[in-house]
């Protein structure tokens, strides 16, 4: 072997080996890790919960399972090999993982109190999560898109990005109870339309219907897959002038209706399309017999934007017909609050919704919190276990109805991040954890995107995005019928 190759090999070995911990000064405190994964509960199939130690140049972590298994890592940050990670997590289902962290900070090695992660007995039975990534802006959107991420790995795939349809915005991918065999999403902009994928066909619906007077905006599939409820919203934005607030999003009017993809018919009912009320955010119960929606008294907007507060209501839905009889499920107005984004768990036990002081767009409300309504007892409570002083919103349930995903602005008040938490059999939620990334600090520091409307998906969304993009660039649209 030539000397130069020997030299290069040695150099490579030296570079690839990180310094081991020595002369460790012990600290009786938790390690300053990012993200905050101290005492979180994780599902067995989660991607490696890599973390950074703030200010550390080298990190050494010993991971030990309460049932079996252990391994160590030594790197710039805690970067767990994916196979070792999945092995130890699966061996310790229902048990505890202990992390012993040592970090070199300013040239000195420190040892910290070991911390734990609990491996939940409840699995996430889904393949991954879907979400929209978009800059938390005002009216203009740069590069953004709908994405899917495998839960067990760091692999992210675009569902569709607006680079295919420049200047347009793609909104909230909604599958049918996490099954992407049926999905819908809305495209806003010059090439606007509503995409409905159903029965292996993708249709591009006319963005605005004369009957509804607006676009098909917030959708929710009927469990049978035969129907999809939408709201139609004339949404506007205004801008605050003081430092504490930025944006106010409100509806000038909104209604709820049901679309039947097989017949292209719209099922309209005057009780969900009233002039004197705003109706929005429809959601079917898991048995398909109830349609939940949020409704507020209609006011002149924007003058009275702070008076708009939504209650959670329901109406019966049978054989493709709405009963027209409205019941209040949760009277948010009575507590001077506004209730939006109601999502029933798929096991029929709970309804989770967002509570804010007023309005229908809580993502810009710092006070917005998640609440849980127990449908068996009828009691609702704020999910104090997961809420933060900043915004929590746009949640969705996993198919097993124990895990849920939501977004929170707790880190900086502007950029929404995706968190997971688990509800046990007594309705108590675990400390939420941030969506793992390979190098979390670098990823979350550098990203200029917010995560938006996360949902679970039982399998990878199969979409011919080029065909959808081409279809959107054309003028032809499927017209809905009354």
């Amino acid at each position: 072997m030539k000397p130069i190759y020997i030299f290069l090999t040695l150099m490579l070995l030296i570079i690839s080996c990180k310094e081991r911990a020595k002369d460790v000064v012990l600290k009786d405190e938790n390690p300053p890790i990012y993200p905050d994964y101290l005492s979180v509960t994780i599902p067995v199939n989660i991607a490696p919960m890599n973390f950074n130690v703030k200010g550390a140049s080298v990190v050494e972590v010993d991971v030990k399972g309460s049932k079996s298994g252990k391994f160590s890592v030594n790197d710039d940050y805690a970067d767990f090999p994916i196979e070792d990670w999945h092995k130890i997590v699966s061996e310790n289902k229902g048990g505890v993982l202990t992390f012993d962290v040592k970090a070199k900070i300013d040239g000195q090695w420190y040892g910290f109190k070991p911390f734990e992660m609990y491996v939940s007995d409840y699995e996430i039975n889904d393949w991954g999560v879907t979400y929209r990534r978009i800059s938390p802006g005002y009216e203009v959107f740069g590069k953004m898109g709908l994405y899917q991420r495998e839960i067990a790995t760091f692999d992210e795939f675009p569902i569709i990005e607006n680079t295919l349809i420049p200047g347009n915005c793609v909104n909230c991918h909604t599958p049918n109870a996490c099954n992407p065999d049926s999905y819908t999403f809305h495209v806003r902009g010059a090439n606007g339309a509503t995409i409905v994928h159903h029965d292996n066909k993708t249709e591009i619906l006319q963005s605005k219907s004369q009957t509804t007077g607006g676009s098909m905006v917030y959708p929710y599939w009927h469990p049978s897959g035969k129907y999809c409820a939408y709201s139609t919203n004339a949404t506007r934005q205004s801008f605050h002038v003081v430092k504490e607030e930025l944006i106010e999003v409100f509806d000038l009017e909104s209604d709820v209706f049901v679309y039947c993809p097989d017949t292209k018919e719209l099922i309209l009912d005057s009780c969900l399309m009233t002039k004197e009320n705003f109706e929005t955010y429809p959601a079917f119960s898991p048995d398909g017999k109830t349609l939940y929606f949020c409704t507020s008294k209609a006011y002149e907007i924007p003058e009275n934007y702070k008076k708009v507060q939504y209650n959670l209501c329901k109406t019966d839905f049978m054989d493709g017909k709405l009963s027209g009889k409205i019941d209040t499920v949760f009277d948010a107005v009575a507590i001077n609050k506004s209730c939006t984004f109601a999502k029933p768990s798929y096991d029929g036990k709970y309804l989770m919704f967002t509570i804010s002081d007023y309005g229908c767009f809580p993502i810009w409300h710092h006070e917005a919190d998640l609440w849980l309504l127990d449908l068996q007892t009828g009691t609702a409570r704020p999910l104090v276990e997961i809420n933060s002083p900043d915004t929590e919103s746009t949640h969705n349930w996993s198919t097993g109805s124990h895990w849920f995903a939501f977004v929170s602005r707790r880190e900086n008040g502007l950029y929404s991040q995706l968190f997971f938490s688990c509800i046990d059999d007594h309705g108590k939620a675990t400390k939420p954890f941030l969506l793992p990334q390979e190098n979390p600090l670098e990823y979350y520091s550098n990203t200029t995107y917010s995560f938006n409307v996360p949902d679970f998906t039982t399998k990878k969304v199969d979409i011919d995005y080029h065909a959808v993009g081409k279809g959107l660039m054309k003028e032809e649209r499927v017209v809905t019928k009354n």
Binding site: G142, T163, L164, S238, F239, E248, H466, G469
Partner: protein
Amino acid sequence: MFSKYFKHIFSVIFFITVFLFWRLGYACAFSYHEQFQMFLFTKSYFLERMSLPGGLSDYISEFLVQFYYFPLFGSLIISGLLLVVQILSYQLMKCFSAKDFSFVLSFLPSILLWRYLGNESVLLSFVVSCIAALIFNLGYVRIKKNILKILYASLGVALFYYFFGAIAFSSVLFFIVYDLKEKNNIIISVLAVLCSVFSALICYNLMNYQLFRFFMGINYFRFPMEIPLMQIIIMFFLAVFPLSGLLEKKLNKKLSVSALVLIAFFGFFYVPGGFNELNYEVIEYDYLVRTGNWDKIISISQKKNPRTPQSVSCLNLALAAKGELGDKMFYFFQNGHEGLVPGFVRDYFLPLSASEIYLRLGMVNSAMRNLFEAQEAIPNYRKSARITKRLAELNLLNQNYEVAKKYLNMLSKTLFYKDFAKTTLENLANKKMLTENKFWASIDQNRYQKDFLFSDAEPDQMYGLLLAQNEKNRMACDYLIADVLLQKDLQKFINYYPLCQDAGYKVLPKHFQEALIYAYYKTHGNLSGIPPIVTTPVVNEFQQFMQIYSQNPQAIKNLTLENSFYAYFFNLK
């Protein structure tokens, strides 16, 4: 005829000419380009660039464009790159047995690129890709072994396509031209064509972009839906121009000299045609606003009236910053209240200078909105270091420290904003840091204190509310009165001008006096009892104006009276 020495001299002259052209004529263009990107020294930034075909040329060009922060470096970079294009072009032509005449013609690709760069939406990535293509073409010519040539035309082309993008199609066309001329086996260049097309199709299948962009370049031009004809012409020209070396034997020395003179003349008249005067007017005004060079704005406006809403608004900002808006605004062309603060548009450029106006008025959230929207509207989806820096400052002002920290952390990975970011981050614990600065303290003092929803449609109300909260906000007062004067609304003027009593005017500005005297005259029919706040020169000027106006209104146009509120009011400007 042209010795090696002379050839070097000609190249150096070309370099100096290009350098001086940009340095003296279009230095503002560098700020324009630099502000629409934020080159980060991070792995993720590199990988993001490399995730698309042409990513390496994007990365190289964005690395270079960050140096545009100093216009001197910008001029050096452009002239250097165009010189490299010329040298490589000549090297390539030499492979076609060219000498003197080819040397003259070797300037043509650089001249074409020079003119094309006059289009402010052309990205340096295209020039970098052209250089890469010339080098790649030279490699093909110099490889003699068939097996290596096959590798070059297959794997090499595929890699070249991925690193430098659609310019690869120019190279494979050159391969064909070269093989035909050399009577080589054409199969190798056909293989190159197939590999380039195949690479483009594979990328198309994997990525969320339209098909044509894989064949015409994803990031050679700032606007994703446009491929300028000139780009196609240059790509074609780079492939076929070396053939001109074949003419060498048929041309004598005199013709070569004539060609040199002709090309120099051609360049002289051809290149400036690529620079749109109106576009560069707003680019220059924005650059001067960015650098706070108010005197220069006023002086260039005196030489030539600004013509677009954006440049007029920059001029008015400069006048306000110098405390001269009420005295001098009608010395210049005005285009209504859009010339004070242009209305919000979904654009990446216009809101930049608008945000500076909002900021100085004290409308902090509107400034932030305009900046954020401008950044999102950058057509090739880049982030802007200029905008990010301002957003960091505004978030500090709004006490959103965590958001500010996020932006500062990003800026700390840049070359020219890093010092600002690091200093600010170190002082982040000092919550009063920003307001200890005089500029930011005045903005914090001028800003709205009570919340309401902002209305673009009622600018006078917005200025009025600023003034109601801080009667010493001189700029809000200037803009409030200027707005009603531009709308020719004398009733509102009468209502509003008392609000400005505490705005710090030693003497009521001239145009305000003009409006006041005219309003008084309209109400009373004469000037007796006119308030003493109107000075004697203004009274005299008004009388002179009315006398001339009653006889021959058009005569006003050539007098100094043309620069008055009355002339604007009666459309005599």
